[in-house]
């Protein structure tokens, strides 16, 4: 057991810190489009510095970093206060999925533009009626005489859709096959009028996500990933990669916020109230347990190929702790935390989504009960 970074890891971290301290995206501009362009430029910078596909194999243009180094990357990025690269879904989900399921031609064609942020990717899994239930996917892809597919349907929670070239789309190709079986995984070109993007405004007032309205969009045969009818398995690969590294960044963001809150409580004297200190103590405890548990999961994954029981817990821990923290901030920070346009009020509202996005806490608990504890499937 060694809970420090070894020499290689420490060197990686130091090199990265150095780089991040002298390289950055510059000041954040006003306006959503401008901010996206700024994050795209930032990814180009990262790419030029060799920091874009940290965990990608060298053969695909990545840095070939270990999982720990990848975790360090997202931790340090969060600590630096710099934003995530624009094409985060391509880097974390699309690329790794292609590496498993793509043909040599597909890898050649798609991987490099992901790294360079030349082509942005988005994810088209969720549907309004389907929620967490993949079997209920209704978007239809009908094969044409020329082997291409015509797709019609609606997708939701598609972040970055308005900037994306490619959408990882799961659609139904076999309408008779039961549940998961008739699904196929496509790469859909977003540059066609048959795909309409409508921003989906959230509780925060921002439109971080979009709805996609697809009507007879065309996808050529060569854009099927992993074979027709195999969409469920391919999608699972994507889902397994979801947040794998990102979790470390989220955890550090939480820690940074908590430290800031602690600072406010200390400088305002509120920390002298044992009730305030008690809640801060609980938050620090949860935050630290989250970090440790994430690393335990990482070690298990590296050693045994999959995380141990603790691996299923980190997203649940993070989301609950973040909600607890942002709610508590409303008490400690005071009126500012309930005033529009402040960081604290944004975080308070945004945190509500944490226990929903990327699998609701209820679904995560089902998964823990069934897959980790081996209980019979919930009824």
């Amino acid at each position: 057991m060694d809970l420090t970074f070894d020499a290689t890891e420490a060197q990686f971290r130091d090199e990265l810190r150095d780089w991040l301290s002298t390289n950055g995206p510059g000041p954040e501009p006003e306006g959503e489009d401008e901010q996206y362009a700024w994050r795209r430029d930032w990814q180009r910078k990262l790419h030029d510095g060799g920091w874009a596909g940290v965990h990608w194999p060298v053969e695909y243009g990545g840095r070939g970093a270990t999982m720990v180094e990848s975790a360090i990357f997202y931790e340090e990025l969060a600590r630096s206060g710099h934003p995530l690269p624009a094409n985060v879904l391509g880097l974390l989900l699309g690329g790794p999925t292609l590496m498993v399921w793509g043909t040599p031609e597909q890898k050649d064609r798609y991987l490099n533009p992901i790294l360079s942020a030349e082509e942005i990717w988005c994810q088209g899994f969720s549907e309004p009626e389907a929620g967490s239930d993949f079997a209920a996917v209704k978007t239809r892809a009908v094969e044409q005489a020329d082997g291409s597919f015509l797709v019609t349907g609606q997708k939701v929670w598609t972040s970055g859709a308005q900037y994306s070239k490619w959408c990882m789309l799961v659609a139904r190709t076999d309408f008779d096959a039961a549940k998961h079986k008739g699904l196929t995984y496509f790469l859909m070109d977003m540059d066609q009028p048959e795909v309409q993007v409508r921003p989906l405004k959230q509780i925060t007032g921002e439109a971080e996500f979009n709805e996609l309205f697809i009507e007879d969009a065309r996808i050529p045969a060569e854009n099927v990933i992993g074979g027709v009818g195999n969409g469920w398995k391919v999608a699972l690969t994507t889902l397994m990669n979801e947040r794998a590294g990102l979790a470390f960044g989220l955890q550090v963001r939480l820690r940074v916020m908590l430290d800031e809150l602690t600072e406010i409580a200390a400088s305002s004297g509120q920390i002298e109230d044992p009730r305030v200190a008690d809640t801060l103590g609980e938050l620090h405890l949860r935050c630290e347990i989250l970090r440790l548990t994430a690393y335990r999961g990482l070690t298990a994954t590296m050693k045994y190929g999959q995380p141990g029981p603790e691996g299923s817990l980190t997203k649940w821990m993070w989301s609950e702790t973040n909600q607890m923290l942002t709610q508590f901030a409303a008490d400690v920070v005071g009126p500012e935390a309930l005033t529009m346009g402040t960081k604290w009020s944004y975080e308070l509202l945004r945190a509500r989504g944490n226990t929903i996005e990327g699998g609701t806490t209820e679904i995560l608990k089902n998964i823990v009960a069934e897959r980790v504890l081996g209980l019979p499937k919930a009824r």
Binding site: P128, G131, S132, A135, A330, T339, I356, T360, A378
Partner: protein, 342 residues
């Protein structure tokens, strides 16, 4: 022992809820909230019905009813999430009536009771009141010191600077005394007024919780996942049951506080602290649970749940959050226990 409304009270409740259900639809609330405006037409109508003055004595132009009737209306307004500055007017009237001089009462109460004048209530420190609800457009602002004193600031003497809180169904402001402006102190003890105000704020939170629960129940009966209504999942049903638990508990406490104000003021301090503690905590948890049980939809702007969540956040800390009031309950209980054992 009769823990139920009288027939008159039931009538008031039904009428108020019916009226707001037709006048303060989500469409209308959303329209005003997005425009950063109050629903002037509705406020005028409610004024005409005498709502702001329901608990003001008849001699001052009010309806002379009690706090139970008052909380019935405030709960209904919370339930409808109505974008009207009525609460501010009614709370200001409470302070003028219970802590003002005869002159102040004569000057302000008839106008507040009829809704022709608007009032606001807030807290201030170092001469500045942050996030004072309903202050924009108010004719008079009552500002509470941390030590229990209260000041009356006419709008003409005040600097009222609108601030967008996360709850746009009310208009908030930063209030201070304008240069050269004057402040009148409310000379009598303000604690009776403040306790009533706490109960009134709690009632609005109970309404918010109730609405969150009702919307959630309706949604989970309809919404299907994995082929069945999600309301049939225990994880969903039990969370909804907890919402009921929190809502009804807060309602019991709030009704107790209102009844105590009307019939047994010795119990008002405890009743008010109980009401505000329970309704503040309940308002936060029920509205958060409502969003959770709606899933992704609940997190969207269109779902309307967020108005409830945001209002609950502001009301939960207004006049003291749960921890403040739990401390008061504890102190009052310890006092009683220690007195009994002596």
């Amino acid at each position: 022992m009769n823990f139920d409304f009288t027939e008159d009270q039931q009538e008031i409740r039904a009428t108020a809820r019916d009226l707001l259900a037709s006048r303060s639809t989500w469409e209308r609330v959303r329209g005003h909230a997005e425009a950063g405006a109050q629903d002037e037409a509705l406020y005028t109508e409610l004024g005409g019905l005498g709502w702001p003055g329901i608990a003001v004595a008849e001699e001052h132009g009010g309806q002379g009813l009690g706090m139970v009737e008052f909380v019935i209306l405030l709960e209904a307004l919370g339930e409808a999430c109505a974008a009207v500055p009525l609460r501010g007017t009614a709370l200001a009237a409470l302070f003028v009536e219970h802590a003002g001089s005869p002159g102040q009462q004569a000057q302000w109460l008839p106008g507040l009771a009829s809704g022709e004048l608007r009032g606001a209530l807030g807290t201030w420190a170092d001469g500045v009141g942050e996030l004072v609800p309903d202050a924009v457009g108010a004719d008079i602002v009552v500002l509470l010191d941390t030590d229990g004193g209260a000041s009356l600031v006419p709008a003409a003497d005040a600097s009222i600077e609108p601030v967008a809180s996360i709850d746009p169904t009310r208009r908030y402001a930063r209030v201070s005394v304008a240069e050269g402006g004057g402040v009148e102190l409310l000379t009598s003890d303000t604690s009776e007024a403040l306790r009533r105000a706490e109960v009134g704020v709690a009632a609005g939170l109970v309404g918010v919780s109730q609405r969150a629960l009702d919307m959630t129940v309706a949604f989970v009966k309809e919404r299907k996942q994995f082929g069945v209504p999600i309301g049939s999942f225990q994880a969903v049903g039990h969370k909804a049951a907890q919402m009921l638990f929190d809502t009804e508990g807060a309602r019991s406490a709030t009704l107790f506080g209102a009844w105590a104000a009307d019939a047994d003021t010795d119990q008002l301090p405890l009743g008010a602290a109980m009401a505000k503690a329970a309704a503040s905590a309940g308002g936060r948890t029920t509205t958060a649970a409502a969003i959770q049980l709606h899933g992704g939809i609940g997190f969207t702007w269109e779902a309307d749940l967020h108005w409830l969540y945001k209002r609950a956040q502001l009301d939960a800390v207004f006049l003291g959050g749960p921890a403040t009031h739990r401390a008061r309950i504890s102190a009052l209980s310890a006092e009683r226990v220690v007195a009994a054992t002596r």
